[in-house]
Symmetry: C2
Subunit: 320 residues, 2 copies
């Protein structure tokens, strides 16, 4: 019987090697607390929050669970320092950083007794994370929602190469939304998984109900990595996406794309529910998501699906 690899669960003191991704506009204190209560690591997504709003959501999460939770801070936004200060003051000691260099904040956070995990999209960056002192990495593939690496390395090819490149635990992300995907990630050498899109379509996420329904309605080919001239992001195909694609089709300038994008497009789509003009960031695995259960129901199902997937993977390839 295979022995259990405890690194992620011991690192975060959680029951299941599942991280609920910190995302913009959809993952507040309610979702993070629900994920924590279900045995996962819940993350509050700071990217879309002013410091005062982040403080509110961290206090909300703490009021809903006594289990550990963390915060995701994308390093590309302003007010990173203030967000980190707010989180430290609120007692958070688990930080996921992304969209920047692991050198910038890892030492600062480690000096304050924190666990630091950085998000990578290549084996080369994974090595830099390890050298910077990160406790673990999220290795996120091309199929993920949100911001993606420019080399377009998919999760299936990324995970084994990252697992070969570093000794710290690897959390696989991008393209995982059921127990089969979790089993695949662990077979590839990951120590746990991070899921984003799957948690967007839950009762406790802050996504607008119309956005949740759009995810449920999505098919395998309903998303496309877009806005590569600015910062690559995976979009659910809608009227806004079609406008972006039309500009990209004729090699529009960065300025034209920036003007079209404007301000507040992601909030408009993901939080306010404008499915036509909003920017709908979501992973390619949306095609596999068919409902919006509670987090507790989802996690129970994931563990059952996982066990089924592993039981159905033969121990040997040979017929004879």
């Amino acid at each position: 019987m295979p022995s259990y690899r405890p690194s992620i669960t011991e690192l975060f003191n959680i029951k299941l090697p599942i991280v609920q991704a910190g995302m913009i506009w959809v993952s507040g204190g309610k979702l993070a607390a629900a994920a924590a209560e279900a045995g996962c690591l819940g993350l509050v997504g700071a990217g879309s929050m002013q410091p005062a709003m982040l403080k509110h959501h961290l206090e909300l999460a703490a009021s809903l669970t006594k289990k550990p939770f963390g915060v995701n801070i994308p390093l590309l936004y302003s007010k990173v320092q203030e967000q980190i200060d707010v989180a430290l003051a609120a007692g958070v000691r688990i930080f996921f950083t992304s969209a920047g260099s692991p050198k910038t904040w890892t030492s600062f956070l480690k000096d304050r007794g924190c666990i630091v995990v950085h998000v990578t999209s290549s084996p080369e960056l994974a090595v830099k994370c390890e050298a910077a002192g990160c406790d673990a990495i999220v290795a996120e593939g091309f199929e993920a929602g949100g911001h993606n690496g420019r080399d377009e390395i998919t999760t299936l090819t990324l995970i084994p190469q990252v697992a070969d490149a570093v000794r710290i635990p690897v959390i696989a992300a991008g393209g995982i939304a059921d127990g089969r995907g979790m089993a695949a990630a662990l077979a590839l050498g990951a120590h746990g998984v991070q899921m984003g899109s799957r948690f967007v379509a839950t009762a406790e996420s802050s996504a607008h109900p119309k956005f949740k329904q759009a995810i449920i309605d999505a098919g395998a080919g309903s998303t496309m990595l877009s806005l590569k001239e600015l910062v690559p992001v995976r979009l659910l195909k809608n009227h806004f996406y079609e406008q972006v694609a039309a500009l990209e089709q004729r090699c529009a300038t960065k300025e034209e794309l920036t003007v079209l994008l404007g301000k507040g497009r992601a909030k408009l789509g993901m939080f306010d529910g404008d499915l036509d003009e909003g920017e709908l960031e979501i992973g390619q695995i949306a095609g596999l998501i068919h409902d919006a259960p509670t987090v507790a129901e989802l996690v129970s199902r994931l563990t059952t699906e996982y066990e089924h997937a592993v039981k159905n993977t033969p121990l040997s390839l040979r017929r004879d």
Copy 2:
């Protein structure tokens, strides 16, 4: 103990659920026979062969093995009818078709007692393959070398959605080059795997030694899906790729791309070994390939790696 799913091995009468992909310029009779001798399904890649050359390679394979082998026929080239006639006359009864509609040839081949497998890049096309009477499908993701679907669906997200959509066996392709990838594919619901890039870098492939070395030297981000305006194809980054990328960067016309591509670029690179000006079609998983063993050595290693990967995948996610 998990029970073995025999569908692919029984369908083709082989020992291991591994298909050696039929590719242009690299997979002749020698490679197909070596794969067959090692317990896999070997395929002669007809795409780059005139009918007389195809006849030669099928006879060569038959002279080297008594085990079953098949042929891959891309439906986008001319002389498809002649290639099929040559293969039938040579006694081949296993046909993999790709790059076209499964409706075109499946009935014709089934009426002649053949096993027919079509290559798909989406769940929707998989359903059409089943309806057309195919015995199995290859579901091939964005990370694959060669020609790829326009929706850029990765293997990790494609396989479970295809497995849910059809009842016929699913062969996973794209991004698989070791036992971890094979275990992941089977956990996702595939019944077997097809590997291309991994078999290009073997002693028995017809790839030029310089091309094999370029694969060994490749990293995780060394390829890019290119020529999307013509037919999307994944290229190893070299001088020719840089020229393509420069044209695409300025939205060059299809005509300009066609002129740059010219004739014989793939042969020049993959068979003749011109690493600068040749078109080097290869999968993203090239980054995980570090040597060019014999097929027998490779397959022995794959089975060991697979068993190791499955043993290291815990049966349950819960710590307690």
